[in-house]
Amino acid sequence: MANPKILIVDDDPDLRQALRLRLRANQYDTVHAVDGYSAIALAYKETPNLIILDLGLPAGDGFVVLDRLQKDDKLSTIPVIVLTAREPQGNEQRTLQAGAVAFFQKPADNTELLDVIRATLPKPAPAAGLPC
């Protein structure tokens, strides 16, 4: 069975890279988008199993992306985890209402982030025997 595919949306190249390495070490494939517009385009093209979304983005911020995903029949089923430097106060409630499944403020604890990803994604086939 193929590894689950995660779309990382973040405008900071270093953070994308760090997240990619972390996810790859946990047997997830990743694709990347640097702004809101390409995030939507890539979500269409790649149909990822999960999206990790920053809020402060060029060309359509995270809320715009969430709204577009929610309104699209094909994309509205993809779970979104918000990972942002912004304050939880106000933003957490707003993103959850906009359809995100979880909110993390950067720097997030990797164990907790991976726990939520694992809980959110469909269970992999037992044969895959994923290490944690």
Binding site: L21, R22, A85, R86, E87, Q89, A108, A119
Partner: protein
């Protein structure tokens, strides 16, 4: 006065004095129009209709005397400048009025046209000045908050980068590392986490200062919260070889407070205790009830550290204060922790203080309001001056699906609670305020004045109504159960209040046991571990 439309409201009951003021105004050749009323009530009514440029106010009116008069005017129109027309005998009162927001006063009999003109002009200008000062103070505060919020946001991005790449190395995901390298990387990670906690405190303190912290109170088991806090700081204590002790009375009823915020205060105090206690010492966390203050629970964190000097003790809860003599082997923080704690405790209606002696450790104590179930229960658990024959506790447990779907679970739970409140009879049933839970599970309780045989009328109604809560079925499941509450013997020695208190105790204990123990930390709570 220079404006064409200078409108003066003269509140004066003595016609002679009123005429004299009018005469002086004519003499001063200022283009003014004067409305004169002789009762305070008429003056207040006029202020509601139209805001004058200035109010000339006599203090002794038929319907109001002395300080009361200017207080009412200031309350009615806080932005309008007021000049008092005082008699020779009450000049002292007029001076006092200046301290409370009146702009100026004139002593009757000594009023000249020039003086009157000057007083009014001065009052108007000074009022405008005060208003602009207040506005700029607010702007500055707002600017400071925006600045701090911006800075902390910008600091987080590089902080995250350092954190992520260091932890990649630390976890061996970029190749094997030797124990010494692992040690160094661990030190970096610890420092990064400290930095992250400081950024958080900075923002939190500025919010506390501008009154922007909100608390969401619920029924909280303080015993569980203390255990959770102690678990979370265990690693730090072990590393420093400081013992941690818990001494709590498990019979303490629920506290009415925000669990995240109370945890923040507890962790802060325990962390401080560990920090200032030498290896081999200990920190004890206690909670107890005090007979003389039955509406509060008393919590304390006592350490065996070096204690605090009297000078430091006086200032320790102030913002940015750091004890210059404190022996602190770990790095110092920003000096915001105790300030934030004081604000948080204050928001709950409690107070915080410290008892300390140099060389003999410190004990930080704070109080939190108890949730009085007995008070809430009294009207529903009693009928015609007697305890009801049977009382049942209904548990409504909402569990989200393991795989979260879209939709806000918290929001769904809130709507379920509102539905529950519509399902009960207000005179004989009671929906308890939501219990604080650690995980996403949410448990609500309904105290019903009925017996187990007939409770299914209510539970069926609840089930039917909950089915109509949108998104609930798609996101989670509901489980209902009911258990009879053991009622006290209707012995003659018990007052009705005591009986209700007994019922409340049983309900509290049942509810506490029925909620799953707090083992899983929420994200927000766990974030403190790194602090």
């Amino acid at each position: 006065m220079n404006s064409d439309s200078t409108h003066i409201l003269l509140i004066e009951d003595n016609p002679g004095d009123a005429d004299l003021v009018r005469l002086r105004l004519v003499e001063s050749k200022c283009p003014v129009d004067v409305s004169c009323v002789n009762r305070l009530s008429d003056g207040l009514a006029s202020l509601t209709r139209k805001s004058p440029s200035v109010v000339l106010l006599d203090l002794n009116l038929p319907d109001s005397q002395g300080a009361e008069t200017f207080r009412k005017v200031l309350e009615k129109a806080p932005g309008v400048p007021v000049v008092i027309l005082s008699g020779q005998d009450d000049e002292a009162l007029a001076v006092r009025a200046l301290h409370q927001g009146v702009q100026d006063y004139l002593v009757k009999g000594t009023i000249t046209s020039g003086g009157l003109d000057r007083a009014m002009r001065y009052a108007v200008e000074r009022q405008a000045l005060l208003r602009s000062l207040e506005m700029s103070r607010k702007q500055q505060l707002e600017f400071k908050n925006q600045f701090l919020s911006h800075v902390s946001h910008e600091l987080r991005t590089p902080l995250t980068c350092i954190h992520q790449f260091t932890s990649l190395l630390f976890d061996g995901l970029a190749g094997e590392i030797n124990p010494e390298q692992r040690d160094h990387l661990g030190t970096i990670l610890k420092s990064v986490n400290q930095l992250g906690a400081m950024v958080r405190d900075l923002l939190e303190a500025s919010r506390a200062e501008s009154g922007k912290i909100r608390i969401e109170p619920r029924c909280v088991s303080i015993v569980d919260l203390i255990r959770l806090a102690v678990t979370m700081v265990q690693a730090t204590a072990r590393e420093k070889q400081v013992g941690l002790e818990i001494g709590v009375d498990t019979r303490i009823p629920f506290v009415y407070g925000d669990p995240d915020r109370i945890l923040e205060v507890l962790i802060n105090l325990i962390d401080n205790g560990i920090k200032f206690t030498p290896s081999g010492g200990s920190v004890a966390v206690q909670a107890c009830l005090v007979e003389t203050d039955p509406e509060f629970v008393y919590l304390s964190v006592a350490d065996t550290g070096s204690g605090i000097s009297p000078e430091a003790k006086a200032l320790i809860f102030e913002r940015l204060y750091q004890d210059p003599n404190a022996v602190d082997n770990s790095r110092k923080g920003l000096g915001l922790g105790l300030f934030i704690s004081r604000e948080l405790v204050g928001l709950h209606g409690g107070r915080i203080w410290v008892a300390t002696e140099l060389g003999h450790g410190s004990t930080f104590s704070f109080t939190l309001p108890l949730f009085s179930l007995a008070k809430l229960l009294f009207p529903v658990a009693t009928y015609q001056g007697q305890l009801r024959d049977a009382i049942v506790l209904v548990k409504v447990e909402l569990t989200p699906r393991s795989k979260p779907r879209r939709g806000n679970w918290k929001d769904i739970c809130q709507r379920c609670l509102e539905t529950l409140q519509r399902c009960v009879y207000l005179d004989k049933d009671l929906v308890l305020p939501p219990m604080a839970t650690s995980g996403p599970d949410q448990t609500f309780f309904v105290v019903a004045s009925t017996d187990l045989d007939r409770v299914n009328i209510m539970t069926t109604r609840i089930c039917e109504q909950l089915e109509k809560v949108s998104d609930l079925a798609a996101n989670g499941k509901v489980e209902l159960s009911a258990a009879a509450v053991t009622l006290p013997d209707s012995g003659q020695n018990y007052s009705l209040e005591q009986q209700v208190q007994e019922v409340a105790n049983s309900v509290t204990e049942m509810a506490r046991l029925a909620v799953r123990p707090q083992q899983n930390f929420t994200r927000k709570q766990k974030a403190h571990v790194h602090g």
